[in-house]
Symmetry: C2
């Protein structure tokens, strides 16, 4: 099918409107304007409704309203700014805030997920049966769900809604991107075979997602193909360069496992600032991330996703320099206290992902009897648990 | 052959005694003491003889000699310290400084090369015909020789002397290692088929070195095998962890091409300190390094050498944080002058490898008509030449 020749256009909905969700909404809405041959201009953004007070110092303060609480959706739609979660950044006027997730997603063929984990079950149950059956998802949510098994968030969403869901991850700091500072990202998108007829560029490989193929409904031919090119056009900006890959596991696990490594680099940095030491530890962390993905997601994982894409090495690098897992672990060593004490003191009720991921991954590895093969992950876990001292980190990791 | 059962032992010679050469001599001499089943204890170190004055403040000052110049070899052998190139570090007493390269290398079956490029031809012509014909070399020299073709230093040495020569490279700062601070390195060593009988662990792969196989003389059976295990035992220390690989090209090119990337990161850092930008640029530099090795050394290159070994990513990281190519390029941007001006002002007559490698690689790529495929290398070259501005670096590299 020749691009631009389709009768219909894709409607796009962003599910979630925090700092990162609002940033992604801005990018997507800039692109739907630029690609009228592919997308409806208006982008719906589901906003978890809350009351917000506009202070007198704000340019949006209205003396007629005063400091009476206002609905966040109404503020966003009136002023084109998410004053609570992405202040001082103008959103394109085609971002439409909507307090109803069902209404926001209605008739959308592209759903972009960007919400906290704890909202997953509720949102998915509200959406199930109320979305376009051939819709496609992209999960921008970092992390994975670990219990007895490891579930990628894209798998979780895809299975809950009966759709294919890809993943976006990279060395992406929302505030930088919102200001249009140069940045790159990786999108993993490999829809299974079922609607091959509708797409010329989709890569076919063995994939977990293929297991869900019988549930997938092909897109009608009157729409532009839901292929890699369409998704690249939806996300790529001059300041936000997208590389498309097919490896959803690598992209998702890169964004999760890096947090364990960042805690380890923080421990090291608390005692020793030598770049040579940091370089080797980051490298050894990357080796372990690659080994983990090969062992547990070997059927689809491609090493290059971690070693050469933004979602892998570049994201790890940023987390090991500027991320809060790194910073809190470093402070813990410097101040001679536990990471939990730092977390409680400086994170204002929020939790470090590195700690929980280190614990979940350790439980997972122990259950499989392979904890000993992952010395970096084990060392970070043992130090967090108080079983080992942070000063032994390097020797624990490099023991033969 | 069971280790330790051989009648004879390998004699080891270090060719070169600068900062890095003396550091490697220290490591090697510690290991020959610990492995009497493999090596002669004494390690010869060839020293380019020069006169050195011991100042009165030195612990080695002898009032009987006063400030009369003394031979560097005599000082090293008397005090077990290279006072000129590795001051304040004790060398093991089994490092024997020798001003004659022929005498130092006589009867040695292992030659470790660690000397400036400009000495190559002279030293090789002195050694040719005067070494054990089945000797093996390891080149610890960073960089490659580029003219119409690219020659790895290990190839150059190997061809000049008719021996097999491997390569050692990594995120190695001589002063850190001399102080026994934790560090890692990579040794590429893949001797060709010819003496397979003498070794059980040598990996066999297609290799440029195999072309030289007819010239190679096998080691006599009364010696321990010259295999990966022997070389690991010669270099690995608790503070200097060695990984053995077979990819000489990857190890050698990692140490050369990283300097071009480090100049680029320096240009970027002069204007913008965002970790996200540095992470992406280092990643894009690594992608280009991998592509270069694949295109020109595809028959032996393995991507993991650059992406997962110390000689690749970790070395690049250190160079992009603490290396002088990085620092000088950053200063040039900050001070609004050329890199050559900074070089002349701060390097005391020494030259930046990044500049010369960028120029040589550009000539090489241009001659092959593929300059446009290497946007990072081209951008650095064009900025060094004054054809482009450093402020356009990112857009030059990411242009589609």
């Amino acid at each position: 099918m020749v691009q631009g020749s389709s009768e219909k256009r894709h409607k796009v909905t962003i599910i979630g409107s925090g700092n990162w969700g609002s940033t992604v909404a801005k990018i997507v809405a800039q692109n739907t304007k630029e690609h009228p041959e592919l997308f409806h201009k208006d982008v719906q953004m589901w906003v978890y409704e809350e009351d917000v007070v506009i202070p007198e110092s704000s340019p949006y303060y209205d003396p007629a309203i005063g400091t009476k609480p206002q609905k966040l959706t109404e503020i966003i739609n009136a002023h084109h700014e998410n004053v609570k979660y992405l202040p001082d950044i103008k959103l394109p006027d085609n971002v439409i805030a909507n307090p109803s997730v069902q209404d926001a997603a209605r008739d959308s063929s592209i759903l972009v997920f960007n919400l906290p984990h704890q909202f997953f079950d509720k949102v998915c149950s509200q959406l199930k049966g109320n979305i376009v059956p051939w819709a496609r998802g992209i999960s921008c949510i970092k992390g994975v769900h670990v219990d007895k098994d490891i579930t990628l968030f894209s798998e979780w969403i895809g299975e809950a809604l009966g759709i294919y869901c890809g993943a976006l991850s990279g060395a992406n700091i929302a505030t930088d991107i919102a200001q249009e500072l140069q940045c790159q990202t990786t999108i993993a998108y490999e829809p299974p075979l079922v609607d091959l007829d509708n797409s010329s560029t989709e890569i076919q490989r063995d994939s977990r997602a293929r297991a869900a193929k019988t549930q997938l409904v092909p897109a009608p031919p009157e729409y532009p193909p839901l292929d890699c090119n369409t998704f690249k056009n939806l996300f790529d900006r001059p300041y936000f360069r997208v590389t498309m890959v097919s490896d959803v596991a690598g992209v998702s696990l890169g964004g999760a496992l890096k947090n364990i490594v960042a805690v380890g680099i923080g421990f090291a940095a608390g005692r020793d600032q030598r770049p040579g030491l940091h370089a080797e530890l980051i490298r050894l962390g990357m080796v372990e991330m690659v080994n983990f993905c090969k062992e547990f997601f070997g059927e689809t994982f491609q090493t290059d996703t971690l070693t050469l894409q933004s979602a892998g090495y570049a994201d790890l690098y940023v987390s090991c320099h500027a991320g809060r897992n790194f910073k809190c672990a470093k402070m813990a060593v410097e101040q001679g206290c536990t990471v939990e004490e730092i977390e409680a003191r400086v994170l204002n009720g929020q939790k470090l992902q590195g700690n929980s991921t280190a614990r979940e991954v350790n439980t997972f590895l122990k259950a499989r009897g392979v904890e000993h093969k992952y010395k970096f992950f084990k060392a970070v876990y043992d130090i967090l648990e108080g079983k080992e001292s942070d000063k032994d980190l390097y020797s624990l990791i490099t023991a033969e």
